[in-house]
Every structure is written in structure tokens, then in C-alpha cells.
Amino acid sequence: MPKKATPSTARPRATTPASDTPPAPSAELLRELTGKSHWLRRELFQMVMATKKGHIPSSFSCTELLVSLYYGGFLRHRKGEPHDPSRDRLIVSKGHAAMALYPILADIGFVPPGELANFTRKDALLRMYADPSIPGIDAISGSLGHGLGIASGMCLAAKQDGRDQRAFVVLGDSECYEGSVWESAYFAAHQGLDNLVAIVDRNGLAIMGRTEELCRIGSLEEKFRSFGWESLSIDGHSYGEILPALGRLGRTGGKPLAIIANTVKGKGISFMENRSEWHNRMPNEAEQRQAWLDLETNTIAN
């Protein structure tokens, strides 16, 4: 019998302060988003299996985060209008997982749905690492440590122009080793960019193993706080925790918001979960069958 995917209740609970908490999301919304998680993982799996290119585990650890942004109403956009300048911005700064956006971009009419099947194929639109030539992608990705600075510039411009525009940045936890992240952290705090949200996909893994064994990261929540950010930790697979955390946007007393999302790399595929060796690997046929079974069953309690 295949090992069951880790239930997300095993992760540490949210530290959102009790006061000033946004209203809890409705049961209906939670059900809808859970369906979207299920859908997105399967889309991604198929997309990757077509050419055997891409990063599944890194995409699956941030699936619920991306679904929340697009379908939870946080990343404000108009369907089919990727070039709308007032659209909120999103940079998946851990660029190897920016591909996780493609099915969503197709779903909201930013890119032609037919393109999903052509992911990484010759002359096709959707590339391994996203860049602004793809409608809906706001910055080049593939090199770690750029997203927070670029988004800070965007947020500052919005403030200067009096535009109500926000930017969200999804960072890898190991990406936070990069000093450039902390340079930008100072900047965003000083500039009072309360229209900026950093979401760290804290899956505890780099490519070569566990972050805490390779080079200890410790508490990112404390680090961001010490750099002048509003900062909180949540279960990054639980909509019940993600939505209220994102809901703190605009209630931070002028600070940028850092959400440390505790996640499981490879979440949803039993044999990939928490295993660094899958970062760059592709499943063989038997593994693919197992993976698909896991994805169909969808044991994740969002």
C-alpha cells in the first residue's frame, strides 16, 4: 500500500495574533479552493510529464499559496486582461516553481489553454523559467534573490503614484540564504511598503538536503520581524490559515508583511514528500502511476 501523504495538521500552527484578525473564510470558499488545489496539482503533473521537464516538488509545496492568491481574491486582476496596468503583481521569485502559475494563467484567460500541453516545447510560449514575455508574469525568474527587490520597486512606484496596487512575492526558504533578500527586506520596511507581501515557502529543503542540516536557517519569522516586517507563520497547505494570513494585508500599521508558510516539498505525492532527491528527478512509469493515484485520491486536508 502506498504511503499516505502527510496530513497538513502535522505542521506547526499559525501564530497570527488573535486580535485584529480578518473574518474567517466561508466553508464554501474553503471547499472551492480545495478543489482548485486538487485541480492544479493534476494539471501540473500532466504538464510536466508531457516533456519530463519542470519542478514538481517545488510547485506542489506552494500550490495552496498560489491558489489562495488567485482564487481567494487577493491578487486582484481582470479575467483575460493580463496587460491591465492596475493588476496586482506577483513574482514567484523561486523561479523554478513559477511554472506552477501556468495552469492558473490559462484558467483566467491570460494565456491560451492549449499552451499548457506545449510547456518547454520548441517555439512554444511557456518556458521552464517564466519571464514577462508570458502574459501575467511580472518579472524574470530563475535566479534566486531578485523578486523581493523588484517587487519593492513596483510597490514604491505604486505608492508614489497613489495607485492602490500590491505585489506578492513567493520566495523559497533556501532562497532566503541570498543576502540580496535581506537587502530588500531593509528597503521595503523603511519605505513602509504595506502593499508588499513576501510569502516564504518554508519546505525545509534545498536541493542537497534539509536546510537545517546544510546551513541552519532557523526562524524566518523572527528574521523578517527583526528587519522591520510584520511577520507570521502558518501552515502553508491550510486555506484556513493562508487566507487569514493574507487578510492581514493592509492591517500591518505600514509594514510589509512576511508570511512564513510551513509546507511540505512534493506535497500530494507520497513518495516525493520531504525528499530532496526529487528536486531534479522525474518519476519512472511505476512511480507515475503511483503519483497519479495519490493525486486522484488527494489526501490533503486543506
Binding site: A139, I140, S152, M154, S180
Partner: protein, 331 residues
């Protein structure tokens, strides 16, 4: 005697300031490098001045974000720190995303006299011209600094501006703008020998020209102020009119200014005796300042004059050359 030339950075900032007052989209970011003119700017236009801390990487990424939102951004710091320290940011955030940001570098070459290898910036031409989408400009006086600045404000693009730390005497008299498109400009004509240079070293080339003239050798000095995009065909056609081509720079010879010229000539099939004068391939820990280091590096005015005389003397055509050089090449 002429008035002390204005600092290049003040020329640039004042020109930027004049436009920024009228256009709030113009933003100036300094990673903690000051200027007198910048104090005025900060006081008058505090919202258009940004201090990102001393962190050059973040400065470039932030500039990319601001430019994405329609701002016209100048970033500004000491040469080595705004190039080598954030080279990957220049490549990725400005180059690959092709963002119209002007990267203003102060104190190129050995401009930070007494500072040594951490401040000397002798590889910036080699590195920055290797980036697609970039333009690389080196002004040599007040007028060229001003005109290039205006261009950067009015037609923003990803440009790298190589400013000198000191102000330099006038070379142009109202003629820079008309020369801009060409990318190079003959600033002192004469004879069959061509010296190409730019920035600080252009002035040294002019001094060498004076000395050689006294010794009876006429040379032409031409300011090659835009090293990228290089006007290869025009430059090669121009150079082919001379008997000898000499490049003079305060950079490493590997990949630098003279290397760009050599590429152009070779690519265009113009074979000329060519002498590339630049810094020896080592780090400089000497005290004594720019003049002293240049002197010790064989780039003092008299040494240069002598090297050029030897190179262009008919006897030299066979001396110091490989035995196997073909006596006649036509292609």
C-alpha cells in the same frame, strides 16, 4: 587659466534635477555616494531621491521594479560597487528584462587614486559591454557629460555611464550632440597615426599628441565615447585611413577598450599595425595616486610618446614581431 572644471557627477545631477523638477517620474537612487548637487536635489525633491542603504544588488533590482512601473531611474554609486558588486543584477534585472535604467558609475579606472584594488575599476568595460541590450558611454568633459545625461533622461534605455571622479577640461565646443550618433569623434586631427581613447585617458592622449608634435610626429586623437553599441563598420572605415591605430585606456587589456577596437578591425577585415596601450595585468597596491600608478605602468606621457614613436618608426615594422608574419596580406 581656465576655471576649475565642474565635477562630472554635478553636471549630471544638475541636468537630471532640472528635468526631475518638472517630471515626478524621474527618480535618483544613490547607494550612499554623495555630491554637492545631490544635496540640493535631496532637499528640494525628497520624494524623487531614494537611498537604498549600502546595498548595490538591491539598488539594481529596485530600479528594475521602478522602471517596470514607468519610472525613469538613475542609479548611482562608486564604479566598482555599481558594476562588479551587482553584475548579476545588471545582467538579469536590467539586461534580460531590458529596463530603461541609467547606471551611473563614478570613478572608473584608477579614479579613486589612493584607494587601491577594491576601488579601482579596470574591468568594467570588459564586463559591461558583454551584456546584451546595454549601451556603454564614457564622457570626457562637461559638455559630453551633459549631452549624454540629456539623452538618458529623454530617451531612457539600459545605459551604463562611466563618469570620472574629477572634472576634466573641455574637449568639445558645442559639437558633441552632433557627434553623438556616430559614437566617436575626431577631437584633434593630424598625421597618419590614430590614437583612440576616451574619458580621462583621452586627455592624456591629447597631451601625448602635443609632446609628439614637438618631436615632429603628428597624430590624430579621436574620442571613442560609445564603446557599445560600437559603430564597427564606420570605425573600421575611419581607421583604415590611417597607417597605425593606437588605443589608450586605463583598463585591463583583456576585453577592454582596445579589445573592442581590435574586434571591430578584425571583424571588418581592416588589418592595421595596432598598438593597445593599457594597464598591465595585475592589481595595484602602490601608494602615490593615479599619476604615479600610470607612470609605473608605462602610461606616463613621455613613456607613451616614446612607445608610440617606436611603434610607428619604420624600423619597428619588423622589430619585435614574429618571424612568421606574412609580408603581404590582402583580403
Amino acid at each position: 587659466m581656465a576655471a576649475k572644471p565642474k565635477l562630472m557627477r554635478d553636471v549630471l545631477i544638475q541636468e537630471f534635477y532640472a528635468r526631475a523638477r518638472k517630471d515626478p517620474r524621474l527618480l535618483f537612487i544613490s547607494a550612499d555616494l554623495g555630491a554637492e548637487s545631490l544635496d540640493t536635489f535631496r532637499a528640494d525633491l525628497p520624494r524623487q531621491f531614494i537611498h537604498p542603504g549600502i546595498c548595490e544588488q538591491n539598488m539594481i533590482d529596485v530600479a528594475a521594479g521602478l522602471a517596470s512601473a514607468g519610472k525613469t531611474v538613475f542609479t548611482y554609486a562608486m564604479a566598482s560597487f555599481i558594476t562588479a558588486r551587482c553584475y548579476e543584477q545588471l545582467k538579469v534585472a536590467l539586461g534580460a528584462m531590458n529596463k530603461p535604467v541609467t547606471v551611473v558609475s563614478v570613478g572608473v579606472g584608477l579614479g579613486y587614486d589612493d584607494a587601491g584594488p577594491t576601488h579601482y575599476t579596470t574591468e568594467d568595460i570588459a564586463c559591461l559591454r558583454a551584456l546584451p541590450n546595454i549601451e556603454v558611454w564614457t564622457p570626457c568633459d562637461e559638455e559630453s557629460t551633459r549631452e549624454i545625461t540629456i539623452e538618458c533622461c529623454e530617451r531612457p534605455a539600459f545605459r551604463y555611464l562611466r563618469l570620472e571622479r574629477p572634472g576634466l577640461p573641455n574637449v568639445y565646443q558645442g559639437n558633441f550632440r552632433s557627434a553623438m550618433g556616430a559614437g566617436f569623434c575626431e577631437v584633434a586631427p593630424g598625421g597618419d597615426v590614430l590614437i583612440l581613447s576616451s574619458g580621462y585617458m583621452l586627455h592624456r592622449a591629447l597631451a601625448v599628441r602635443e609632446q609628439l608634435r614637438m618631436e615632429g610626429l603628428e597624430v590624430t586623437v579621436t574620442d571613442l565615447f560609445r564603446i557599445k553599441p560600437l559603430a564597427s563598420r564606420d570605425l573600421a572605415a575611419y581607421a583604415s585611413r590611417f597607417s597605425h591605430v593606437i588605443t589608450l585606456e586605463e583598463q585591463c587589456l583583456a576585453g577592454g577598450f582596445g579589445s573592442a577596437v581590435a574586434e571591430a578591425l578584425v571583424d571588418q577585415g581592416v588589418a592595421k599595425p595596432m598598438l593597445r596601450l593599457g594597464l598591465p595585468d595585475r592589481y595595484f597596491f602602490e601608494n602615490g595616486g593615479r599619476g604615479h600608478v600610470l607612470e609605473k605602468s608605462g602610461l606616463g606621457v613621455s613613456t607613451l610618446a616614446q612607445r608610440i614613436t617606436e611603434f610607428t618608426a619604420p624600423a619597428a615594422r619588423s622589430r619585435n614581431r614574429l618571424p612568421s608574419v606574412p609580408q603581404s596580406v590582402s583580403f
